[in-house]
Symmetry: C2
Subunit: 273 residues, 2 copies
Amino acid sequence: MDSLPRTQASPGGHKILSAFDCARCQARGSCLPACGAGATGVGQLVGRRLRVARDAPLYHCGDAVNGLFYAVRYGSFKTYRADAGGRPRLAGFQLGTDMLGLDAIGLHQHSCTVVALEDSEVCEVSSDSMHGKHQHNAALQRLFHGVLSKEIAREQYLAMLLRNTRADQRLAAFLLQLSWRYAARGYSASQFRLAMSRIDIADLLGLTPESVSRLLYRFKQSGLIELSGRDIRLHDAAGLKAVVVGEGDAAPAPTSTAPPPRGTETTPDTGQQ
Amino acid sequence: MDSLPRTQASPGGHKILSAFDCARCQARGSCLPACGAGATGVGQLVGRRLRVARDAPLYHCGDAVNGLFYAVRYGSFKTYRADAGGRPRLAGFQLGTDMLGLDAIGLHQHSCTVVALEDSEVCEVSSDSMHGKHQHNAALQRLFHGVLSKEIAREQYLAMLLRNTRADQRLAAFLLQLSWRYAARGYSASQFRLAMSRIDIADLLGLTPESVSRLLYRFKQSGLIELSGRDIRLHDAAGLKAVVVGEGDAAPAPTSTAPPPRGTETTPDTGQQ
DNA sequence: CGGAACGTTGACGTACATCAAACTAGGTGG
DNA sequence: CCACCTAGTTTGATGTACGTCAACGTTCCG
């Protein structure tokens, strides 16, 4: 890849914490061992915890995989991936309980670079053990397959979002999805602080920071959101959803008589952007 | 979803063929049981084969899943999925040995609609049996996890492709990928017949049929391809790759002195569009 | 043979990128 | 604590890739 922010200490330069039992983790309800850590024995899956400093990479594109993937314990990450021209582009954000490295399970080296957006911690999980010593745990297998499958659906959703949609639709969808994801983790759905820069958002959505800035301003003018810096408050989730669907405030003009709104429901919380 | 081509006989209206042993399938080398059907016991996985007529759906968005997914035995399919506005959009093409329904393994109902592009046949695989009676087959588990993981990587690649790229980059990447996929299946990499319409291509790439038509014409003028109707021949794969990377014939003008081409390699055959 | 999809070609408009410049905030060193 | 500096953010002016609309040609199938 071209010029990734290979800033801090290379892979392995994280603070390594002792082994850990998922049964005692506060995120156990919404993480991999969702169906009950004790019963499934997921607790034994987690090898180590790694602490990753802000802007430091968890792993790099090209690094060896070693049969591991990761669950975000707290903090947040961004994932870079080479685009058609070989230049690195943002491929997604990962919040607490999201998984990292699922796309590399069959491979020998990572195909993307993961960088912490803030001081964060991840749990190391052995994918080898999933078809190794844990292969007889049917509940765990089912759970794991579900996690992989959901990841596929997530990526499909993102690919969907990035196609024919206008810029305002993308941004509105992004904000709503963030809101859902925070809500699913027990935080406020209507008020949060963006962990990522406008540049990162623009990169993810296939836009320029200038466009993002202008669109946020327009949303603010329309009364859909309120924001100062990276603190954001969603005032009118329904209005944002209308933007996503394609109605909404297409023109900066006020509420014109819109054609009959379409009935179909918007996409479900298919997570991780 | 809105108005999918619910044309022919509803789900279940396919011709059902008898059970089948993968060991005797000619595609066994490149399908799920790639590591040797006998050894892994994949042969027992496949329940039935279904024959699906051209334009007929294999399953619909909303249909019950029943713990099954599918491997394309011959023919080809297209996958529709609801976009942000609830309207159906093309999400991908599947050729022989590709998998269908992997994204629904954890779910109770399908989130996309699959339609045959031509008379085709699929093999039914039980995902339940993967964490059921086959859970002790470590080689098979590993293989299955690899398939799921690769699917994630594929979707990530597609999402990547559809973002900041220009229309010509997308189309060139699409053609090259088709070429790779045909080659991987033992067909000619440089000459094939498109199973899908321009409309379908446009829909997949987030373009209009008009744009696709104009771009194909431009590629033809540049000597990159040769085409009549749906028959296409790739003359200059390197030239197409240059287009993908961002150099190539940006202007319809002939070979102008281009700035030094970038060194990085293009994306690997990460398959299924 | 007729009709309906599909495909091509042209003229035109617009959403968003690009370029450029000013403003703001966070971090660092004096 | 303030000066400074860089990275991030905002705002404006301008250009262009690609969508839209419209008309015509072509293929395919009943």
